[in-house]
């Protein structure tokens, strides 16, 4: 938890087909627990959560939903909008607001 951490997020799709992307770099020297909110802890919660997401067996009938791609510490996860909840969603929504990179 003391090493630096990079989080990249892309939200693609939607009826507009306009992607939004952002990067969050958490420097190593900033101790966990001193940020507001604690993105380090949230990133690790998000990773655990993303690893346990079960894709439905049948193809979903939803159309024009957003698709989220999260890369946390080099680990890739692609998640449909409806399955992205909790800390992973909070983190993802925060990251795409950064750098104005729509």
């Amino acid at each position: 938890m003391s090493e630096s951490l990079r989080i990249r997020v892309v939200r693609s799709g939607g009826v507009a087909g306009i992607s939004r992307r952002g990067i969050l770099e958490l420097p190593a020297q900033e101790p966990s627990g001193q940020q507001d909110p604690d993105w380090f802890t949230m990133a690790h919660q998000a990773l655990n959560q993303l690893r346990s997401i079960q894709e439905p067996a049948t193809a979903p009938a939803v159309r024009d939903a957003f698709t989220w791609s999260l890369n946390i510490d080099g680990e890739d996860h692609v998640v449909p909008d409806q399955l992205l909840v909790g800390p992973a969603r909070t983190l993802a929504e925060h990251v795409i607001t950064l750098r104005g990179s729509r």
Partner: protein, 392 residues
Amino acid sequence: MDKETQPPAASSHPRHHAVPPYLLAAMAACDGAWEAPESMREIISSQPTLDKADGPVSVTRTRIATRARQTMLLDQALLHERSTAHQKLTWLIEPTGRLNRIISDAQGVEITPGTLIRSEGQKPSADIDVNRAYDGLGHVYGFLADLFKRNSLDGSGLVLRGTVHYGEHYDNAFWDGTQMVMGDGDGEIFNSFTSSLSVIAHELGHGLLQYTTNLQYQGQSGALNESIADVFGALVEQFVAGDDAAHASWLIGKGLFTKAVTGVALRSMIEPGTAYNDSILGKDPQPATMAEYVKTTEDNGGVHLNSGIPNRAFALFAKALGGNAWETAGSLWFNVIATRTLPENADFATFAEQTLLQARRDHGAGSAVESALKQAWDTVGVVPRLKENDDE
């Protein structure tokens, strides 16, 4: 102008009045690619079933089913014109049903459906989003009923449901498999998603596909799904405005961007890639030809990007024909998906080929319609793929 010689369709179905409707329905359902409306199911199940053997028979069965579905479409249109004389047949082909809309309010939360706020026949609400959603669903229903003699999305009077005020500043609208869901937009880039009829109808277009040819939402079949939803969205908007192909804007989502954005709409069907060029949003990334096809893992393989290619083919085709796009061009596209002649994983080439086959069925080989369609596919760089056993 599309009345060349007596309708070839009539001569290719010389015996369609000799086939009893229940048998026709059984034939239409025999390949499992079409689910008969509820009112027909009992009658079908009481009839002796067709040969159930697999193997070469299934090819024959597909052909029988496809033919039968085409005949039924023709019958539906004919019956509508003479509905008083054929009441008993009409209920078989078209189960009773009427426009039924239900609009709910998610009140800023990401839930569906939310709180019921306006149901069919109720007076307009004080909420403009509620009314635009309600009116939009009505336009979609009227379009399907007037032009394709189809009773709602499923042909059986499906209740049309919409949720407004989904989420907070939510920059999207979608079809969730049962209803349309509209966000309010962030107010900085996007206005409310109910502000564009083409977007409302686009979402319902996904519903129509779900109940006809449910093209897989990935890669080229996904881009076709997107494109056909755009075609549907544009046609409903043109139909309501009374715009013919020459005067139509061919834009999807006009009015959706705020004034802060340098752009006219989400997409241009006639000139993909030109809808916006903005300092924040960047340039409209849609390709206009196969040579520019976008390979990406995002957006289910770029379904909202590569849809520009078949979109442009449709718009070019409709403009070349002249007149109202929803008539010849629109009904041709509709017939392809409604007869389920297309595999759900179809690519652009297979779809193009099916549209050409449909053009020959509807208008005859060598017709002006067929050559305009060939030209359109050629311009966007899609080479229709001929398949064997096409005996039309």
